[in-house]
Symmetry: C2
Amino acid sequence: MKIALCQINPIIGDFSGNAAIIKTEAQRAKEMGAELAIFPELALCGYPPMDYLEHPAFLEGQNHVLDRLIGEINGIAILTGIISACPQERGKPLHNSAMLFRNGEILHTSHKKLLPTYDVFDESRYFQPGTASQFFCLDGLNMGITICEDLFNDPDAFAERLYDTDPVADVNAEHDLDLLINIAASPFTMGKQEVRRTAFAAISGKYGLPLLYCNQVGGQDSLLFDGASFALDRQGRLCAQARAFADDLLMIDSSRLVPTAPPATDQVAAVHDGLIMGTRDYLHKCGFRRAIVGLSGGIDSALTCALACSALGAENVMGVGMPSPYSSPGSITDAEQLAVNLGIRFELLPIDQILAACQASLAPLFEGLQEDVTEQNIQARIRGLLLMALANKYQGLLLSTGNKSELAVGYCTLYGDMNGALAVLADVPKLLVYELARYVNREGEIIPTNTISKAPSAELAPNQKDQDILPPYEVLDPILSAYLEEHKSLSEIIAAGFDEEIVRDVVWRIKSNEHKRKQAALGLKVTSKAFGFGRRYPTAERFQG
Amino acid sequence: MKIALCQINPIIGDFSGNAAIIKTEAQRAKEMGAELAIFPELALCGYPPMDYLEHPAFLEGQNHVLDRLIGEINGIAILTGIISACPQERGKPLHNSAMLFRNGEILHTSHKKLLPTYDVFDESRYFQPGTASQFFCLDGLNMGITICEDLFNDPDAFAERLYDTDPVADVNAEHDLDLLINIAASPFTMGKQEVRRTAFAAISGKYGLPLLYCNQVGGQDSLLFDGASFALDRQGRLCAQARAFADDLLMIDSSRLVPTAPPATDQVAAVHDGLIMGTRDYLHKCGFRRAIVGLSGGIDSALTCALACSALGAENVMGVGMPSPYSSPGSITDAEQLAVNLGIRFELLPIDQILAACQASLAPLFEGLQEDVTEQNIQARIRGLLLMALANKYQGLLLSTGNKSELAVGYCTLYGDMNGALAVLADVPKLLVYELARYVNREGEIIPTNTISKAPSAELAPNQKDQDILPPYEVLDPILSAYLEEHKSLSEIIAAGFDEEIVRDVVWRIKSNEHKRKQAALGLKVTSKAFGFGRRYPTAERFQG
């Protein structure tokens, strides 16, 4: 059977818009000879709808458009993700469902059985697990129809098993299958594409079944859905793969799956492409076209600005330099050079006068008190104020430029450099910032060499360097990864060879800056554990570990 | 049997500190003649530990202290909530458990069966539901031992049934019970105490069983655990109730339960007491004693400041007036009068000079562009900057003063008046702000009468009033409640008699300000749906409802 995997980018709650995309892609698939067009998990309402699922009007809105869609598409079968009402009296009121329809007739509906409830996923909050059979025979083709996490509890593919059941084993035991289908809304993290391919290949090979995987694409707040849908043959060999971080339509002939070489994977390139997609989709889906970036001459703001230009076009990005008495002359020239290289508008707003006015106002209250971090924060907050004024006046969104390493240890000022609608690098550790900067420069200098080579500094005090109070990033980043992503204990990290005093200091900094991150701008997730929605810690606490 | 309900206030992750409280209270209970002392859900680790539950070191830390505790308490049986490892190979790795021990011996362990996963609760994220029997016979007393939500699926007590099973029915069917026990960490919302008493009375009466309810007390970030533990006789009549919003130890004789009149309930007084407890506990548990409050002369900041004084003592609260060219003279005198009434330090920091410097700096970039909300935001952000400078320098926490109504419709400035570590009134609608202010003044004027009686204004533009762009609060607040708390659709709210244009405008404002609330200060929850952790919506979305 000729099947199209339609890797689309829906917008949450935009039922008509999403239905229009589904219609267009179905028509295209039909014209290309497809008998079945497959769309991602919750394609009609967008994923994740979050607490809109608790509004009866959300389900009604989807169903109204769904009814029309079922009547409007003819000559091709459509398999798509939808939300559906759970008829059971007890339990959660909704299912996360897969619906198959053709020529006005609903042929099959079944529901997701494994509901991810960890990290950024909250599906047990909304959905009742399915019990309906996930089998359907379409024109003689026996299909097992699973939804995303349903594939993630196979004992041979995954070390950790979070659920009591294995939907693939169940549907395979019940029926003589020809094909496994998985519709998904699976967000990107580094290495995830390989994890999916390897695990699904194991499942495919184990059951001797071809596997078609159709994933959502697009940025949705913090989440970067990478698409990269694919088809495996019955030995689990990759036969076709859709583009990553872009809409695509992948045509498959289920009876003629020919192995192909897996695409080369470059994690730095993937993060680069993902951040650009995420920045573009966040602004555009929120109704904005323009971005403002404060340029310090440092690498974080330079990289953020370069990514913003790729996402939005240089004509939609404004760079702003805001030197203080502590700024090095090099930092201004580096920022100006970046702006020239990118071809963006650049404005210079020295903060000296405002700083002097603030100091004068506070002087009577600060008299006799020692200078401390307060004075540095004031500078950062003046810059934050000016950038927000420009964002407000020019109807753009301010991009925050901090990286994951500094957000982790609180080396940033709340209501200052943390200001912004989107923190493009919030989940990018500093060492990866360097790799991305070099990748941006892969065909010539965009980010000035001096920006990359100089020692990192916040320039909020005379001769300040990051390494005055932080360990070198080569030490800091692995500690952060062990603690934040792997949940290693202090003693485990120390046992791995890190200095005890440094480890204790870093973990203390992480914990004592939780309050800052609770008010941080939304960041784009690229690691297995990003700050924000998928990482939930109390602020008032005393755990020593 | 003489039983003590020990209503304690643990700190998350403070295993030694919490164990010390348990030991002290157990000793006190023993001295009062108790044979059994009951402690709340997760009393040893604090509730909710959130993602610390994913750190193996957290369970180890608790168990280390638990082992010692079991050996140290003698002569009285202890029933307490703990986390425990789930021995099963598949599923979530932890249980939310109740453990009974005496004289060094563990007598019983069972696990919570119903795991709340809605609003602020994420228990399916961490816990595997229990299957162990919740029955134990202690010295001839047959007890059903349930944990919080386990009581919340009785068809006669609750209209909505979120779970497939009813643990009370199960344990009652298996055993001839003498007594039902429920250990809980159930946060306050308005009316919740009555809901609990009514529902539990129905359960108690239905099974003909006395019911002992032991709830956690204390503020934990946004959550206000109210305590108010109680005992019901076998007809469901209230026989004893512990204090609300304060530690307590309630002694019960299970064979001599004598009905008593339920305490008078005053919702305004309850919110008042809850906000004071929440403010005190948040600051103290985070290691702070001092608070800074910007005083505009308006009712929100006046009420916040009055509550802060009750929570922390007037000597620990500093009020700051920051007049601009648009401030009315009355606003300064009202703020000064409040400070005098409360006996707090008051400082005046006019923002004119800083505002002039900001305007001068931005003038070249704003030339030819219309004045808009940008200019108002700049004033709010200068104030936010000054307040944060004082909080930093004086090592206090800034309290944000905005109410729920303005946070809902975005009538507030991000990085301006939204600045703060804690937003005391973030879940208090404006009409309730007025009621609370009158309650504060119940024994004489603390909040100046003029502050209560004048028309609300942000004073960021000449002659500005809230009602220039917002509907009157008598209209706004019920619309907000219907949409935010009841998830009513626009058409339902309009059908209830509200003006269509106003309803559409209010809902549009709610939705288009989601980004501000994502960066808002932590607020104290008093309604069934507060902004923050328990309310989860996408920012980029297009749902029209």
